[in-house]
């Protein structure tokens, strides 16, 4: 199972907020967490918020220490995410056609004499 590093930046917290202060990390480097697990507690001028993890994966790097002020869009955490050769995702309708390794047939040909 291949792994890929994905960096997650501080999301836009709405109401025109441009930055947030890291109150307390809910994870440590090396932790394997699930999607939506609590990731980090941050405080903006408006309120304190717990940001859920957008990804399941292993925490590789925390880009801010507690009490750091992080602008929106700046790197916050890097995950190592398993990238299994995910089956391609079908479109809005229908199914992804399966590719049989060896297509089957019943008709046999006789090569021409010429």
């Amino acid at each position: 199972m291949a792994e890929e590093n994905i960096t997650f930046t501080l999301p836009d917290l709405g109401e025109g907020l441009v930055e947030a202060t890291v109150l307390e990390w809910q994870v440590a480097v090396g932790d394997t967490i699930g999607r939506n697990d609590p990731l980090v507690e941050v405080e903006t001028t408006k309120s304190a918020v717990v940001i859920p993890s957008p990804k399941a994966g292993r925490v590789v790097e925390l880009h801010a220490r507690e009490e750091d002020v992080v602008p929106v869009g700046e790197p916050l955490v890097t995950f190592a995410v398993e990238v299994e050769e995910s089956a391609p995702q079908a479109g809005i309708v229908g199914r992804v056609p399966e590719e049989e390794a060896k297509p089957k047939r019943r008709v046999r040909l006789k090569p021409p004499t010429d």
């Binding site: 479109g91 309708v93 090569p111 010429d114």
Partner: protein, 339 residues
């Protein structure tokens, strides 16, 4: 890398890279949007959603919602608007979400887009490329698996092309959008997920050129879109019986490469045309007529056509029995060998 979608550099890559057809088209759109500020990509759900097959994924984020934008749900207005945009100096690349939903826009396509340059004696060219996810093969609901190539190919003033693999999709889209003539670019949705190593390159053959996908000497299989892959499967199986079939990817459905067809059939003496659309008045009839007219003396057998039946495109479970099967193509080949 911080972004899931790598950034396309404007210089054309020459390295071999593994891509699906979705990604290849996405790459070509990035190159076009980057090189020409007049290019606009619009249609239903092409912006934030990134397209119902993710073909325009990430474009709005990178090029902004002035160049890549969603429109309300009205196919005729989408194409009518494209005419106005073109007359105002833009190079529109509209998407109609599904083949079956193009019909309300056929009036604008046939009566306006196709003949505007003619009617204005060249004053108002229509450098429009209509991206149209087409054909069947994904067991989609009604109206989502139609093949409209005969209608568009029959329309004077329109060029029509159908790529069959990711590399083709890339270079043919560059060619289509850069052309100042209106092009209907039919994307074989069954091949969207076809992922293979490809060398992305600038288009080399002129518009209207077909290509030999697999050489052979006993008969020529002529196809386009997803049926090219089907014919390659047939040829590989036929080889086990000692029969070498040439597979010709027509690519351009208008203008059709009559010379290319003639060159191949003159050698193989036999031809089978394969397409998903129903038989009667399908584009296969045009191809068969061209071959018969140009290779009458060389032909050892009448041109065969293996196509969808003359029935409305069926529901999912019956689709495999409607679309040309490997056995039906083999039987047609056998008919030409025994004739």
């Amino acid at each position: 890398m911080t972004e899931l979608i790598e950034r396309a550099d404007t210089t054309v890559e020459s390295a071999v890279v593994e891509l699906s057809m979705q990604q290849a088209i996405n790459r070509a759109l990035r190159v076009l949007l980057t090189e020409d500020p007049d290019v606009l990509v619009f249609g239903e759900d092409v912006g934030a959603l990134g397209g119902v097959f993710r073909v325009t994924d990430g474009l709005q984020k990178e090029f902004g919602d002035q160049r890549v934008f969603d429109t309300p749900l009205a196919e005729s207005a989408i194409m009518g608007m494209a005419v106005g945009l073109a007359m105002n100096g833009w190079r529109p690349v509209p998407e109609l979400q599904f083949d079956g939903f193009a019909y309300p826009a056929v009036d604008q396509i046939v009566n306006q887009v196709a003949r505007m340059n003619y009617r204005t004696r060249g004053a108002a060219p229509m450098p429009i490329t209509l991206r149209l996810p087409s054909f069947g093969g994904i067991q989609a609901p009604e109206h989502h698996g139609e093949s409209l190539e005969a209608l568009f190919a029959h329309t004077p003033g329109l060029k029509v092309v159908a790529p069959s693999d990711p590399a083709e999709a890339y270079s043919l889209l560059l060619q289509s959008v850069r052309s100042d003539d209106p092009v209907v670019y039919m994307e074989p949705k069954a091949r969207y997920w076809d992922r293979r190593p490809v060398r992305l390159s600038e288009p080399t053959d002129p518009i209207g050129t077909s290509r030999i996908v697999r050489p052979g000497r006993h008969a020529t299989l002529v196809a386009w879109g997803a049926m090219v892959h089907r014919c390659v499967q047939v040829a590989e199986l036929a080889a086990e019986d000692g029969v070498e079939l040439e597979v010709l990817d027509l690519r351009w459905l208008k203008p059709i490469d009559a010379a290319g067809l003639a060159a191949s059939v003159a050698r193989t003496k036999r031809a089978v045309v394969v397409h998903e659309a129903p038989l009667t008045a399908g584009l296969g009839a045009e191809v068969a007529a061209l071959i018969t007219e140009n290779c009458f003396r060389e032909l050892a057998a009448p041109v065969q056509r293996v196509t969808g039946f003359d029935v409305p495109y069926p529901a999912g479970p019956l689709e495999p029995q409607y679309l040309p099967t490997i056995d039906r193509v083999l039987l047609a080949v056998q008919r030409t060998l025994e004739y």
